[in-house]
């Protein structure tokens, strides 16, 4: 074939990019699966267990549950190793760049958002990770929580824009 060289090159590129693509998606599956399993094993999918951590008033009555602190410390420790290991690298294994949040400064949306999330978390004992993994167990009223959580996230996009416009004017 007269165009065999060109043809081979194209085929080769397609194959290597689809292998990278497959690895990229496999990483997402592996990471998500481990994340969900970790949420179950740590029992963070149990709202009552989370609320028993947040109930600092129970420390004096010996009824406090410090478990969540170990979950966070264990998770941060492992993640910190990977952050330090990749410090000198310019790209992850299966993408061309690391995707870091663009925002750096401590601003009003950060504080207001954290307060609103804190209220919802304190009311329910459910944060976004457990909300998703709980689908495997479908406790009563979970779909109400999930539906409103997605609605809140959707509406939040417009609140963010409103904050951005306000800051631009000010």
């Amino acid at each position: 074939m007269s165009n065999s060289i060109t043809h081979d090159n194209v085929t080769h590129d397609n194959v290597s990019s689809s292998v990278t693509n497959l690895a990229y998606l496999a990483v997402a599956v592996l990471s998500g699966g481990l994340f969900g399993a970790g949420l179950y094993i740590s029992q963070m999918i149990d709202p009552l267990k989370v609320l028993r951590f947040l109930d600092f008033g129970a420390i004096s009555q010996n009824g406090w549950d410090p478990s969540l602190a170990l979950v966070i410390i264990g998770a941060i420790a492992v993640m910190m190793v990977s952050v330090l290991l990749t410090k000198s690298r310019s790209a992850p294994l299966f993408d061309k760049q690391f995707h870091l949040p663009a925002l750096k400064q401590i601003d009003r949306p950060l504080i207001i958002g954290a307060v609103l999330f804190g209220i919802g978390w304190g009311m329910s004992g459910i944060c976004p990770g457990p909300a998703i993994t709980l689908v495997a167990f479908m406790p009563e009223n979970l779909l109400i929580f999930l539906g409103l959580m997605f609605l809140g996230s959707f509406l939040g996009t417009y609140v963010q824009k409103w904050f951005a416009n306000g800051d631009a004017i000010a």
């Binding site: 997402a28 179950y40 979950v71 299966f94 995707h99 998703i132 009563e140 929580f145 996009t157």
Partner: protein
């Protein structure tokens, strides 16, 4: 400390850390759950440059979170204090209370750009001051709500 489960909670935490590390080293992405579903919800976001499968990886990640939790519950049906199993989990409060909490969790994590995983695990692990402030604020707020409502 009758409810304290140091072994299962530490192991679960290490797994969550490993999951976050794999996504970072492999794909250069932060395992922040509110961010991951927030990016696939409408309105459509600008897909990041040079990033393969902006929607697909997020959908697969979220579905895998559900399957991962399910598989763990089959392998370890009784862990923790008093034989915890996934099917024993209940949401707290009436439907209106649950709906209000869900709305606040979705709204707050979107406006504040992160939740317990994105700010709490990945953010603190990469020494982000922004995340430290967010974590302190939402932990303190949640603790105040629990104290005020006497929900536990």
């Amino acid at each position: 400390m009758e409810y304290f489960t140091p072994v299962s909670s530490l192991i679960g935490g290490l797994m969550i850390g490993l999951a976050s590390a794999i996504l970072w080293v492999g794909n250069g992405r932060i395992a922040g759950i509110s961010g991951i579903f927030g990016q696939i919800l409408p309105p459509p976001k600008n897909p990041a440059k040079n990033s393969p499968n902006p929607i697909m990886w997020r959908v697969l990640f979220l579905v895998s979170m559900i399957i991962g939790g399910f598989i763990a519950s089959v392998l370890l049906p009784n862990i923790g204090v008093g034989g915890f199993g996934g099917d024993a989990v209940q949401l707290i409060g009436n439907p209106l209370w649950i709906a209000s909490a869900g709305l606040l969790v979705g709204l707050g994590t979107k406006i504040g750009n992160g939740c317990t995983s994105g700010h709490g695990v990945s953010g603190l692990a990469r020494f982000s001051l922004r995340s430290l402030v967010a974590v302190l604020v939402f932990f303190a707020t949640a603790a105040i709500i629990v104290a005020v409502t006497g929900i536990v």
